[in-house]
């Protein structure tokens, strides 16, 4: 890793020195070659002079859990444990069998300023309710289209294809997509999950205005949300050929007292042969959504649409804690 870093710095420095004032620089691709990968050099700019966003990208943070600053939690779903304290909750049945893999990592948050979303009092109440009923309400669990900006920082890669007057993004999550129109087109005839995106270049920054939302999408797994009236403005600014500073301002008088902004880097996936593999979750969510109307139910007990999950974690012979420990 350190070698790679030094290598790329050397390459960058030398190349920059060689090129001087010339605009068209090819740096990252050659850093890839320095790792012995069979990759063609990737120019930092497209031939028409824009930053080259072509490729596979992914956020690498905890924003998909909660945009706001939060500490680590012991479970995605929690219940009161031995103590009454709010901070002493323990994992609850839906995730209990997963042990330490079912927690939520902490984060400094991505909301700029004081780190909090400036909700109106009503919206804040709704957000708190959303959080309490996460597994019942979050559209992600039903494999619904994630919306913008949520799709941009889910824990799945996405592909950017940069055309001449369109920029197309294909998301690993449920094969969702968006098209950013750089030219003038008629908007959709109906409100949408993914919004209608119209973009323009301001210098090296791609600025995208998104609207036409249906108000059914969330912003993260913590129940943060916006209304159908939200005006979302995204700014994609190259930090390097392999990182984009992604900033989103949400102006939504129905839910917040002032416009607010999140910011985070998006990283280019430099893996050899980086390819977005679909996460085809419509099928994955069928049991969750329709299990209660099967003839012979797979989950032991449903009460109406409420799934009662009992956890049985069998320990195979030889794998009991003390046996495993002594091995």
């Amino acid at each position: 890793m350190r070698n790679w870093f030094r290598g790329s710095i050397m390459v960058t420095a030398l190349a920059a020195a060689t090129v001087g004032a010339v605009i068209s620089v090819a740096v990252t691709g050659t850093a890839g070659q320095a790792q012995g990968q069979d990759q063609a050099p990737r120019p930092a700019q497209t031939p028409d002079g824009q930053p080259n966003f072509n490729g596979v990208w992914q956020a690498n943070n905890e924003a998909h859990w909660d945009l706001e600053a939060h500490e680590a939690l012991p479970g995605m779903v929690m219940q009161q444990g031995v103590y009454d304290y709010e901070f002493a909750k323990v994992p609850a049945a839906p995730v209990l069998a997963l042990g330490a893999a079912a927690g939520v990592p902490g984060s400094l948050g991505v909301v700029q300023g004081d780190g909090r979303i400036p909700y109106t009092p009503d919206a804040l109440r709704l957000k708190q309710e959303n959080a309490e009923h996460w597994i019942d309400r979050d559209p992600e669990l039903k494999c619904y289209l994630p919306g913008i900006p949520r799709a941009m920082y889910m824990p799945y890669p996405f592909q950017i294809v940069q055309g001449t007057d369109k920029i197309h993004m294909t998301f690993g999550f449920s094969n969702a997509a968006r098209v950013i129109h750089l030219n003038d087109v008629t908007g959709p005839p109906d409100y949408t999950y993914m919004g209608h995106s119209v973009g323009r270049w301001e210098g090296d920054t791609l600025v995208v205005d998104v609207n036409n939302f249906n108000g059914k999408t969330w912003l993260d797994r913590a129940g943060n949300f916006h209304s159908a009236a939200a005006q979302v403005t995204e700014r994609f600014s190259p930090m390097s050929p392999d990182a984009i500073w992604y900033e989103v301002t949400i102006t939504d008088p129905e839910t917040s007292t002032r416009p607010w902004t999140i910011g985070m880097p998006l990283y280019r996936r430099l893996d050899p042969n980086a390819t977005v593999l679909d996460y085809p979750c419509i099928e994955f969510a069928e049991e969750f959504m329709y299990g209660h109307v099967r003839r012979e139910q797979l989950v032991r007990r449903w009460e109406g649409e409420t799934m009662i999950v009992e956890i049985t974690r069998k320990v195979p012979p030889g794998d009991s804690f003390h046996e495993w420990y002594r091995r």
């Binding site: 070698n3 290598g7 050397m10 390459v11 030398l14 190349a15 090129v19 010339v22 068209s24 620089v25 691709g29 050659t30 850093a31 070659q33 320095a34 790792q35 012995g36 050099p41 990737r42 120019p43 031939p47 028409d48 002079g49 080259n52 072509n54 619904y144 289209l145 294809v161 055309g163 001449t164 007057d165 369109k166 920029i167 197309h168 294909t170 094969n175 997509a177 968006r178 129109h181 003038d184 087109v185 008629t186 908007g187 959709p188 999950y193 993914m194 059914k216 042969n273 980086a274 977005v276 679909d278 085809p280 419509i282 099928e283 069928e286 329709y290 109307v293 099967r294 003839r295 012979e296």
Partner: protein
């Protein structure tokens, strides 16, 4: 040591690349020939559609003739006017959804110049199935007929029961389906008994029906399909890299493309067995060719190979017409899943039928045909 060598190789490459770029990079001219992208590839961008209705396979009477005469096209158009296969629920006095399945969802394209979409083999017909594939098709058909046995459809020997017979409910009717089901059947135990369409997963590759939006990058090309009722999907064609290892199986396969002159050639493998195209599952391999022949026309050819299913590869050809980008009449937000009240309603309806039968106040659900009324057994 090896790493250091590679690093210096990287430096050399960087310098060389910059030199080459300096020589090769030309300043793109706005409004240059619509035939090329600023990076010199033939330009395929836009929204494209096969604007004609064309029989998939060629009727035997046309032999090897690819194109229809004006009279033959007129006759086909006339036949379409009476809308064969229309949904008759409204006409026979049952409650209908205001003719929706006749007038709204079922678009009526005019008859096209071709006698069939299949152009190779030269008789315009899909090659014979292999004996193994025939056995699988037959097993599926038998299973579906078995579940229909006690219905009015079989009692009155309607088309939906062709090849089957009327009789008491089959003893096997509660068994696990003896194959991985993707079609409609006369049983609704759970989602697995429904068609992929009912489950919002009917979009499959290749798609020959819907709108296609092509967005073209220098190293990859996005194909957005607007097809079915909100069952569209996206593909990304990579102009570099390799197919993933064979244990990776994808709904739309893995697509790698290259330019052969003016033609984009796409090879797609790594398909999943869960999303078959006709009889072909994980063993299919597609070779697709897109060529821009004029401002408004893109020819599309797909050769489909699966030696476990067909005795020879076969090819479909379409002439796609450019649609107005400004009007933007393509739906790239396939939200079937978000509004899928149909699937739970089908399952709930069957649970109600079962309860009513158990209570002795209704017929055996297996005597009701809930499979062939709209699109037939296989959709």
């Amino acid at each position: 040591m090896r790493r250091r060598l590679l690093e210096s190789f990287g430096v050399a490459t960087a310098i060389a690349t910059v030199m080459v770029l300096l020589q090769l990079t030309t300043v793109p001219v706005k409004g240059q020939a619509p035939g090329a992208t600023p990076w010199g590839h033939p330009n395929l961008e836009g929204i494209w559609l096969d604007v004609y209705a064309t029989p998939f396979e060629r009727a035997a009477q046309f032999g090897d003739r690819e194109l229809a005469t004006a009279e033959e096209r007129a006759a086909r158009n006339a036949a379409r006017m009476v809308n064969p296969g229309r949904n008759e629920r409204g006409d026979i006095g049952r409650r209908d959804v205001a003719g929706a399945y006749n007038a709204v969802y079922t678009s009526a394209k005019p008859a096209g110049p071709r006698t069939s979409l299949v152009v190779d083999p030269t008789n315009g017909r899909i090659p014979a199935l292999t004996p193994e594939a025939q056995r699988k098709v037959e097993a599926q058909r038998e299973w579906r007929l078995t579940l229909l046995r006690n219905t009015e459809t079989c009692r009155s020997a309607e088309r939906g029961c062709a090849g089957g017979e009327y009789g008491p409910p089959a003893p096997e009717r509660f068994d696990v389906t003896p194959f991985y089901n993707t079609g409609r059947m006369n049983r609704h135990d759970g989602p697995e008994d429904q068609s992929l369409g009912d489950r919002c997963m009917s979009g499959r590759t290749p798609d020959l029906n819907g709108f296609r939006r092509i967005v073209q990058g220098e190293d990859s090309i996005a194909l957005g399909y607007d097809t079915g009722q909100g069952q569209g999907y996206q593909r990304v064609v990579h102009l570099s890299g390799n197919h993933p290892p064979s244990q990776i199986r994808l709904r739309h396969g893995d697509s790698r493309g290259r330019w052969e002159g003016e033609t984009l050639v796409i090879e797609t493998t790594n398909f999943s067995p869960k999303f078959p195209f006709r009889e072909s599952g994980e063993n299919r391999r597609l070779v697709e060719r897109y060529t821009r022949v004029d401002e408004d026309t893109l020819t599309y050819e797909v050769t489909i190979e699966d030696s476990t299913v067909w005795t020879a590869p076969w090819t479909v050809r379409q002439e796609l017409k450019r649609q107005s980008d400004t009007q933007n009449r393509i739906y790239y937000e396939p939200r079937c899943n978000e509004g899928n009240y149909g699937l739970p309603a089908l399952l709930i309806g069957r649970r109600v039928d079962e309860q009513v039968f158990k209570d002795g106040t209704g017929p055996d659900p297996f005597s009701l045909d809930t499979a062939t009324c709209v699109g037939g057994l296989q959709e």
